[in-house]
């Protein structure tokens, strides 16, 4: 028996009206904080840009404080909290989130508490200290900043070191477990659906919906674990894991683009079902490893429009058809200039949902091992190809947003570090300054000795001398080392 929690139920610490306010105004606060740090970095203190951002920051902080009676900016794992509300990433704030996370981590700060109405001078001093170049490690930097704040009599702002409390650890572990459960169940249901259609049986629409709801909830709650699981890429279950992966990528991208929960559901359902037409294509064509004959190719190229027919048959007597899923099934191999397949007779432009799914589909397909692609392409090379080759016909802005979601080294990429350790990319770093420095799990040392459990390392952290202890030098083929990267996400 499956047991799940709804999104808001997991941290029911604040009244909803307050949480909504904090989420909205907290986002403004973080963006303003980021803007101020950047302004201080670029201009002299007396410059109007600095003064303006400082006063805006102080004003937003004061407003939150007045209304909520407290203002606490807290880091927990890869999340930012304002008071007890976790802020959600979206298209307009991901850069600021990543940057501030890294800045605070580097300064050994876990929490910034604001008391009363902190004057702009207090903010100026704190943020200048945060951004200062130094060779100290985070603990020492924290002490240094704390002393400096005390000596300069900074009022209204207090910094605290990071405290990984039991609740945070439990939350992270719960999220990981929930992600694994969601993922495996999604693959199982997808398998059941595709096989049912192939055998002429009616699959359970309720199960399909529940799967997509689960994925949307998971992405909204804690994205990293689920996106990480897309690295599993099980060859034997390719057809099913591919559909689930495309669904996960699409929903994660949709969330980044600011879609609402119900829009994400529509997008997710469409993505999960995008290849449903393949259930009407002979299996021997789908699994053929040799070059396809023309007739076989035509059968495979029929899957987009076959998908529309399958989806019409799927709907119950009373149920409104998912026209979006049909549209996506039909358009996901269409390029921006309407080349690709199927061919159009009537005028159309490819809709945004289809463009998103096309990017997710193209990425997952190219990075997976399949019957006719025994060696998958490295994820980073695929992203680069998607970005640089207009012949692929993908929407360049959607591709950009997708790269931005996955990072230069997408989750699941096997990389060689300059220490000659092997590592699997575990989570992307969204900060502009740390594009090439994701969080990784070290698989083996330079001698090839496997490390268990694989230590998790943030490549963006510097050592005492201000150097990066580890840097990625190249990506590697997991098959070459006999490594199943999926093992590092389950």
């Amino acid at each position: 028996m499956a047991e799940s929690l709804t999104d808001a139920y997991q941290k029911p610490t604040q009244p909803p009206a307050s949480a909504a306010y904090v989420r909205r105004r907290g986002r403004d606060f973080v963006v303003s904080l980021y803007g101020t740090v950047r302004a201080i970095k670029l201009y002299p203190v007396e410059h109007t840009a600095v003064q303006k951002t400082l006063s805006e920051l102080a004003q937003i902080a004061g407003e939150i404080l007045d209304r909520e009676k407290e203002l606490e900016f807290r880091l927990s794992g890869e999340f930012l909290f304002i008071n007890s509300t976790r802020l959600r990433l979206d298209l307009t704030n991901y850069a600021s989130f990543g940057y501030l996370l890294r800045l605070c981590r580097g300064a050994g700060i876990g929490t910034i508490k604001v008391h009363d109405r902190a004057p702009t001078r207090s903010w100026l001093v704190l943020l200048s200290l945060l951004d200062a170049q130094t060779s100290l490690d985070p603990h020492e930097r924290f002490d240094e900043i704390a002393v400096h704040l005390a000596q300069t009599h900074i009022a209204g702002i207090e910094i605290l070191p990071p405290v990984e409390n039991e609740a945070d650890r439990e939350f992270a572990e719960q999220a990981r477990q929930a992600a694994t459960r969601t993922y495996t169940r999604s693959v199982a249901v997808t398998k059941d659906v595709i096989n049912s259609v192939r055998m002429g049986r009616a699959p359970s629409i309720k199960k399909i919906k529940r799967v997509v709801q689960g994925i949307v909830d998971q992405i909204l709650n804690e994205e990293t674990s689920l996106v990480g699981l897309t690295a599993i890429r099980d060859y034997d279950e390719y057809t099913f894991t591919h559909s689930v992966n495309v669904c996960i990528f699409a929903v994660a991208l949709g969330r980044r683009l600011g879609m609402t929960k119900n829009q994400l559901f529509d997008l997710g359902l469409s993505a999960l079902m995008h290849d449903i037409g393949k259930s009407r294509v002979p299996i021997n064509c789908l699994h053929k490893s040799d070059e396809l004959l023309d007739a076989e190719w035509r059968q495979i190229a029929a899957h987009p429009w076959l998908g529309v027919l399958v989806l019409f048959n799927l709907r119950g007597q009373q149920e409104e058809v998912s026209y979006r899923a049909m549209t996506v099934s039909y358009e996901h191999h269409m390029r921006g200039d309407l080349s690709g397949y199927p061919k159009n007779i009537r005028a159309r432009s490819v809709c945004m949902t289809s463009k998103i799914v096309a990017v997710a589909d193209g990425y997952d397909a190219a990075t997976s091992r399949r019957a006719y692609q025994t060696t998958p392409y490295p994820p980073s090379a695929v992203l680069q190809e998607m970005r640089d080759n207009p012949g692929r016909g993908m929407d360049p802005v959607v591709v950009k947003a997708f790269i931005n979601l996955l990072g230069i080294y997408p989750v699941g990429t096997l990389v060689v570090l300059d220490t000659f350790e092997l590592a699997v990319v575990y989570a992307a770093n969204h900060s502009i300054d740390a594009l090439s420095r994701p969080t990784v799990k070290i698989v083996s040392d330079a001698q090839g000795i496997m490390l268990r459990p694989a230590p998790e390392v943030d490549l963006a952290l510097q050592d005492l001398s201000g150097e990066y202890p580890r840097t990625i030098i190249k990506t590697a083929d997991p098959a070459r080392y006999g490594i199943d990267v999926g093992d590092y996400f389950v």
Binding site: E3, P12, D192, S380, K400, G448
Partner: protein
């Protein structure tokens, strides 16, 4: 209120009195029933909602949240039953939640103001839902309540096999990267990511790009995708020559069309028919049967039963879709629909709908005159009446023969409409047929006919009108009929008729008696219509007539 209460026999201390929760739940249950039974403006409904709100507010005086466990027959608070409704039916509130997997409910302060009504509406929808429709869990998920959270067990997922992964990798050592990755060739390979390839301007979205994406998403989610899907189906139909595929698509389009009508998606329905017709016109490789199948799509709308159902729905529905959507749909009607259309024009009590039907009827009738002519002879008087009316409005000479039939055999109402239609048509043939109506047994029709003939200045009818004037039957008729005939006569006769009219107005009979005053007044009016000098002279003579009726008529006639 006690700060804490304790239940006999248990050691768990309650934070506040159980009776508060029990009462809140009792009122909540009553609100659910009231929402099922009454409209929101009903005082019973209003009272029940207010009571339920009051119940929750009493709880919020003690706590900010209320968590309830759900069993198949009870809602329980801190392991005590607070709502007991045994019986596994949709009337039992615990069972409604339980059967779809909800196992715990958490209400927050503010629920009663913000989300009580939406929850009641949702429960009502779930109660009435069929097995194929969304269950309570999906409805709750979609509604995304802020003041109500829930825990659930996913019954739909029961029995779903969990995918097993293979045995874990237990190797102690693998290839050392250092031993194989130092090769110069490998290091130069494409797997090395060059950072200059990832200039941040290429990697991060600028404001313009963010606007583009958000605009596209807005457009995407506000557009109707049905037309896109129909276009996909028809494009496929045109490109796939496989008969089975075409048959499947035709079947889908057929059922989709009915679905669109039932959902009042008229514009999309019209799109479907129009595009299907385009496919028929464009595709050269369609078999006769395939062609026929697509043509039938638009025929179906025009089928009496289907079209009547649509009109019924439109007539009975208060809210209507935009009228241009309907116009779009009606523009796809076939001639066979004209009969139904005309029948509804005559019967509809909905002014907006009637206007649309009139427009559609005019379009169809003018494009398909033969169908209109056929309907003039319809056994359904309502249809025949509208067809006659429309034939007149269209000045359709092709309808004259059928109208002659109406004049001869139709009901009085229909004959009257026929007279008007023939007059509107106004062709020599039409007016010739119209003359026959001078002999109609119905006085109103005779009066209308003579007026029409007069207004059309149809001199050929003069002798027929004169015959009437001279017959004794007219003299015993009503003043209106006399007046109509005399005026008609005056309009058509010219100077030649003046002596006859003057004789009636001014001359005495053998015994020195004049004609009766009404007849003389009619003659005066007729002379007024003639309007020549001789006619005016005849009128002058009667200006001082002693009979007030005559004098008044003469005076009016002279004034013109």
């Amino acid at each position: 209120m006690p700060a804490a209460a304790q239940l006999a026999g248990t050691s768990v201390e309650l934070p506040f009195a159980q009776s508060l929760v029990t009462e809140a739940l009792r009122l909540f249950a009553k609100a659910i029933r009231a929402h099922q039974l009454y409209l929101p403006n009903n005082p019973m409904h209003v009272r029940a909602m207010e009571a339920a709100r009051g119940g929750f507010r009493a709880v919020w005086d003690e706590a900010d949240t209320l968590t309830l466990a759900v069993t198949d027959a009870e809602l329980r608070w801190l392991d005590r039953p607070v709502l007991d409704e045994p019986g596994r039916t949709s009337d039992s509130i615990p069972w409604m939640f339980f059967k779809d997997g909800v196992r715990e409910l958490l209400f927050r302060k503010g629920f009663e103001d913000e989300e009580l009504i939406p929850l009641l509406a949702l429960l009502q929808r779930a109660r009435l839902a069929s097995a194929e429709e969304d269950d309570l869990l999906t409805l709750l998920w979609e509604r995304d309540f802020s003041f109500l959270q829930y825990k659930y067990v996913d019954l739909a997922m029961e029995g779903t096999p969990v995918l097993e992964r293979g045995a874990p990798d237990d190797r102690e050592r693998i290839l050392a990267p250092g031993s194989i990755e130092t090769d110069a060739h490998l290091l130069a390979s494409s797997s090395i990511t060059r950072m200059d390839e990832y200039d941040s301007t290429l990697y991060f979205l600028d404001d313009r790009e963010i606007d583009y994406l958000q605009g596209e998403i807005r457009a995407d989610f506000s557009s109707d995708l049905r037309e896109r899907v129909i276009a996909s189906l028809l494009d496929t139909y045109e490109q796939q020559s496989d008969a089975a595929v075409r048959e499947e698509i035709a079947g889908i389009l057929d059922s989709l069309f009915l679905l669109l009508l039932s959902l009042t998606q008229f514009r999309t329905g019209a799109f479907l028919i129009r595009e299907a017709a385009l496919t028929v016109g464009r595709s050269r490789d369609l078999s006769l049967a395939e062609r026929q199948r697509l043509v039938e799509l638009s025929d179906r709308l025009s089928e009496k039963e289907i079209f009547e159902q649509l009109l019924h729905a439109l007539e009975d529905t208060v809210l209507r879709p935009p009228q241009d959507d309907l116009q779009e749909l009606f523009s796809q009607l076939k001639p066979v629909a004209l009969e139904t259309l005309l029948s509804w024009i005559g019967r509809s009590r909905n002014a907006d709908l009637r206007l649309l039907l009139e427009a559609a009827g005019s379009r169809l009738a003018s494009a398909h005159t033969s169908e209109l002519v056929r309907l003039i002879s319809s056994p359904d008087d309502v249809v025949a009446f509208e067809a006659v009316r429309r034939a007149g409005a269209m000045k359709s000479t092709a309808a004259v023969a059928a109208l002659a039939g109406v004049i001869a055999h139709g009901s009085p109402e229909l004959r009257l409409a026929g007279v008007a239609a023939l007059s509107d048509i106004g062709s020599p043939g039409a007016l010739q047929v119209l003359e026959r109506a001078l002999e109609d047994e119905d006085r109103d029709i005779r009066v209308a006919t003579v007026r029409m003939l007069g207004s059309r200045n149809h001199r050929a009818a003069l002798s027929g009108i004169e015959n009437h004037i001279r017959t004794p039957t007219l003299r015993s008729g009503t003043l209106a009929e006399k007046m109509a005939f005399f005026e008609g006569y005056g309009t058509l006769c010219g100077d030649e008729g003046v002596p006859f009219l003057n004789a009636i107005l001014n001359t005495r009979g053998l015994l020195g008696r004049r004609e009766d005053a009404e007849l003389r007044a009619c003659a005066a009016m007729a002379l007024g219509k003639v309007g020549t000098d001789s006619a005016l002279m005849a009128l002058q003579r009667a200006l001082a007539d002693r009979d007030v009726i005559v004098r008044s008529a003469v005076s009016r006639a002279v004034r013109g």
